[in-house]
Amino acid sequence: MKVGVEYFITVSAIVFGIGLFGVFTRRSPLILLLSVELMLNACNLALISFSRQWGTHTGQIFALVVMGIAASEVVIGLGLVVAVARRKGNLDVDRLAALRN
């Protein structure tokens, strides 16, 4: 068996699909953030696979930028979760609809 780029892309797609499932079904904002991390990492794996396939570093640079974006997203997301938890007792993404009206 020769492990080509196809296998890495397939693993990336499976992990992305699992993360998508988590984002759609979970109610806790913390697990939502964790699922988004999962999806971002699956994208990173795809970028790095193609980077290796074509023999250029562009995909790796892109993956580094995605890592920076993920870190920023976690900081803001966790800050929001803590702020919401301070103001309201429970954390349920379905009930955080104050901005809808």
């Binding site: 080509g4 196809e6 990173n44 997203e73 803001i76 007792g89 429970n90």
Partner: protein, 212 residues
Amino acid sequence: MMYQVTFVAAAGLAIISAFGVVLPSNPFHSALSLILNLVSLATLYLLLQADFLAAAQVIVYAGAVMIMFLFVIAYLGGRADEPRRDVPLWQLGASILAGGAIVVEVVIAVASQAFGPAASVSDQFGNPLVVGQDFFGRYLLAFEATSILLLIAAVGGVVLGSKRPSRRIDEPDEFPAPEVQQDLELQAAVMGAETGFPVSRRATAAEHGGGD
């Protein structure tokens, strides 16, 4: 041969731990599974000769980001748990459909494309020196944009986590949070950060924040 074995092990572990992230109702278990997932993906990066990315993955994610996650989960205590488990059936089905559709589409797209053998690269490919030269040379703009983004995120994190959240004018206070409670919470957070032992304020939270 070693390559294939490592790939199968890392890929299987990545997929299993990905399920471990989305399925448990305790966010602590999810976070621990995500650490396993990140390390498995770092192994896959190593197989793809992305040495620097693998190191950055372990340091930035498993080191920094996940510690922050675990700290917040410990700080929130029981409030971080899943509120309820009765996801409607149609929603569950639609989620599985959406996730499965992505996988099937990508597999079809990949299978219909004849990828040749990977480009032959030198041993230097992906090591910190060459990646850094590219990052500070041809992709300098991306580097600067990322640094500005991180700076903005740091400022935003400080604003969001500041002691006194700005009050909304149109909404009356659901529960008048006395200043004392916030001080206690802050103290608990600081103590937890200093000792590494999460000090829970769940009793206080149940008293004041339960009536949502």
